[in-house]
Symmetry: C2
Subunit: 440 residues, 2 copies
């Protein structure tokens, strides 16, 4: 049986999950694949970790050179995270003749082009299933099972923290801040959850998915990003009343005039399969011009699901299949032209807008006039009662529009926020229409 | 750019979908994969087809030898269907040095072992993503993205005809026979839909999935199969009242004492992602010991989605990746031991039973006594009003049980059906519990 030498770099929560999976499923993997996966080195500078898991002696090291200089280590797993040290480590591993498996979405979203070019120069490959959607076989499906399609659109729930928070708020009518505190306590949110709740993590994953789906070099800085921090439970309540669920979506669409990429909360029809993705689960809807609507669902985070993807990538590297597609297929940022990005102001959508207004006569007239002047047609207006703990003279007004241009909406909201009767920034959530399958 | 020669055998609805996809997406595929897929021969004995699609002259043939003897045809696509001629054609293609791509679930479920052994003897491979779940990347995910898992269970909705019928009956409160006629008219059911509605087609797909997921040689004849023909809309109505959806499921579970495989209608919790799979869509829930619950969803039939999987397989054959895993991985029937099948009498489940009874005193006592004697504990009993068009003195009685052994249930139902007050065979539907993730 062929042995594959592995060097693991960074042994935090995910790294420990990899060690555990390699041990627990060693026989299963050997029986399925004919490969003996041998963890030869675990490089971890925090020595307190060395005693926290049981490995044969000499496996732990604080010196990356132990991996770089070991000719029997074929595959390096980078789990350091971040875009600086991790990038240098990846390049060193590639230059030392190792294929690299990584779960580092920030690194690939921001420096992917450079990393892939380095792999190509070294005659090695980078495999990165675990960077998006945890254990869900997303990238391998884009690369293999769905390869014959022109991918027309992606709609993804790819951040478990946000999805857990929105699900909890909606199901149990709880406040954002309360649920966030719970999420931290339960381990569904980091101690500093900023990059999750502000949408940055979702955008990292969108950049990686979109580059492969649309074969384009994506400049991460050009992706418009909105998070979930401004969403109130009353918005989720209105969503449900109208037959929608509210989800933080990563959206990528291919149009005649370019690619539209964006991350924002969205109302989606309650009957769409994405609407029932709740709690810490992730899912991505892919629309291909042959396959139609295809959705992949599963746990998007956690040590065991992420390790599932990482070890699958190690196996793909070990068989040579990953290298073959890496070399032969043209799906990665360094092989494709910069994306022609459709500006967000040009997109068309329906919108939900919630304004907090002083409970005075003539308020509705002032607001509706602003929409009317921009030819934005309203489909519904609801004035809800104030929350029990809110000031009595301030009430929420919820408005949904027919199709409108984003640019016009932004202008309208800016005008509305200038009104004396408006007491806080408006919350604006796009009502996302079901993507049409088999578009010409 | 490397050219890959393709011979297509059988040009019915799916074959035409393949021809269309190869034409329509030729540039997309070439750009993504670096491969030029060249359709060199279309073997079709029905010459009326020859004029129904436009191909360069000389592509159509009625002689398989044109494919077998062409050294530049690398991959043969078998779309004849059935288990006899198709099997011989596959073996001839393999012996002639072609890799074979097939969508033929019956052939692989029943003669898979023989086909795979023939491929191995010829030094070729068989790829068959399209045989299960149309365009959904199911088998490639079992083979690659999820390879590091011990797969513990599969729950699949893999027959679009049945799913369409059950969805329509439930949503619009329509009768089975009416919906079936509609399904035929709309092309969602074959003119003779027997193999779909009686569960055979679902069992073919289960055999293929289970062999790969559980690494076992499955004897198709040992799979217990029930179809949807006996289901009445009142059963679907009760399901909804109780918080369930009724679906025809392919179920595979790995237990300490063997593998349990079965096809039957089932009540599943309305909140389970499978419950919202409606109309012609398919989905399979896979439970891996590392990834947890993973679900893959999409169109399970139709020319374009099926062609999406077929062409992906052609590409996997052309790159050599398919051959590498075919040779090196141990996932197929000819490489594994016969499955140890857990008898269906030994499974434990909750049950829904609907009996049609004469509206007389003491009926309930007679029925409940029979369950009681077998220690089957009931969780609910409802006597519904008769349907408007039913005889007035016959009413349905719906019973749900707590966990019970299948063998005891079958005995109980046999006894109940002997009662004088029972006017028709009972309908018995298993209430399938959510599979537990990460079972030890």
């Amino acid at each position: 049986m062929r042995s594959v030498g592995i060097g693991l770099i960074g042994c935090g929560t995910i790294g420990k999950g990899v060690v555990e999976l390699l041990t627990r499923n060693a026989e299963t993997i050997a029986r399925k694949t004919g490969l003996r996966l041998e963890l030869r080195h675990v490089c971890e500078i925090n020595r307190s970790v060395w005693n926290s898991i049981t490995l044969p002696s000499g496996r732990f090291t604080a010196d990356l050179n132990d991996i770089l200089n070991d000719p029997e280590t074929n595959v390096a797993i980078e789990l350091i995270g971040g875009t600086t040290v991790a990038g240098e480590v990846v390049k060193q591993c590639l230059a030392a003749g190792k294929d690299v498996v990584t779960a580092n979405k920030a690194l690939l979203a921001i420096r992917g082009k450079e990393m892939f070019a380095a792999a190509r120069a070294a005659g090695q490959c980078i495999v990165f299933e675990a960077s998006v959607g945890g254990g869900i076989p997303l990238l391998s499906s884009l690369r293999e099972g769905l390869i014959a399609n022109r991918i027309d659109a992606l709609f993804g729930i790819v951040n478990g923290t946000c999805n857990y928070i929105l699900s909890e708020m909606a199901t149990h009518n709880r406040a954002y801040a309360d649920v966030l505190e719970d999420a931290k306590r339960l381990g569904y949110a980091e101690p500093d959850p900023t990059l999750d709740v502000n949408g940055t993590d979702t955008a990292h994953k969108l950049a990686i998915l979109a580059a492969m789906a649309f074969q384009a070099d994506i400049d991460f800085a050009t992706i418009p990003i909105e998070g979930i921090q401004a969403i109130d439970r009353m918005d989720l309540h209105v969503a449900r009343e109208l037959g929608y669920a509210c989800k933080l979506l990563a959206i990528g669409e291919r149009n005649d005039d370019g690619i539209s990429l964006r991350v924002h909360p969205a109302f989606i029809r309650a009957t769409h399969p994405l609407a029932s993705v709740s709690g810490p689960f992730n899912a991505v809807s892919v629309y291909g011009n042959a396959v139609g609507h295809c959705l992949l669902y599963g746990r998007g985070a956690g040590p065991a699901p992420t390790a599932s993807a990482i070890v699958a990538d190690v196996i793909a590297a070990a068989t040579g299949n990953a290298r073959r597609t890496f070399e032969q297929f043209q799906l990665l940022q360094d092989q494709n032209e910069p994306a022609i990005m459709k500006p967000i102001d040009a997109i068309q959508s329906r919108y939900y807008v919630r304004a907090m207004v002083k409970d005075q006569p003539n308020v509705m007239a002032q607001i509706t006039r602003i929409f009317g002047e921009r030819a934005i047609s309203l489909s519904a207006i609801t004035q809800h009662e104030a929350e029990a703990d809110a000031p009595q003279d301030i009430v929420p007004v919820a408005i949904t529009t027919h199709m409108a241009r984003e640019g016009a909406m932004r202008e309208a909201i800016k005008e509305i926020e200038k009104l004396d009767v408006i007491t806080a920034p408006c919350v604006c959530i796009r009502v996302v229409a079901e993507h049409e399958e088999f578009k010409a």
